[in-house]
Subunit: 97 residues, 2 copies
Amino acid sequence: MSDVFEAIAAPVRRTILDELTERDGQTLFELCARLTMKHQLCLTRQAISQHLDVLESAGLITTIRKSRYKLHYLQVEPLQVIIERWLRPGKGKRSHK
Amino acid sequence: MSDVFEAIAAPVRRTILDELTERDGQTLFELCARLTMKHQLCLTRQAISQHLDVLESAGLITTIRKSRYKLHYLQVEPLQVIIERWLRPGKGKRSHK
DNA sequence: TTGACAGGCAAGTGGTAGCTTGCATATAAT
DNA sequence: ATTATATGCAAGCTACCACTTGCCTGTCAA
């Protein structure tokens, strides 16, 4: 996949991004617990792991291995392409002058 | 569908938004021609029509009937939610002060 | 009125994303 | 060494999206 747009297409993945916005550097198990508790989601650990893979291959999260833990960090830079693409007034339109 | 995120998940639909950014108010047939010519896409008219339906139900385009023509206009407002959600530094983080 | 043009509706099909199940690996604790 | 914890890998299943095909409606020109 590795595509930013498809990565944020799934509601679960957007919720994961929200969670990391609120508390960065969570492990897979932490995310599992929070998605279950706070967001009433009923997913297996593997399902969430696969979502994290998608997010990582899209560049929306980075991971760091800490012994047996894997910490996940949010990266919002890839989302900028959306602004660059459609939300900038002057883009080939010569808006200034 | 009616979801902004799923609407921009498909590459073809993003190309349609690009086309409308470049030239707003196109008809279905105009879009078909341009997607075929400029973007080397090989899709039937119905396929593109369905994509336009998705974009409209997501609020990314609006349409106006002009006799037997249907004109399509770009609406970028729904994309702002992405900025509000993840690209704003101070959102519950009390960044100022 | 007849034909061409622009668009709409709906059923059918193939491919793939998302999820589960089962097993495997690695690190830490006892 | 054994067990618990945290994660990884891979095959299989299901549901749905994207696309096509076929036919229908509405508008304009001759």
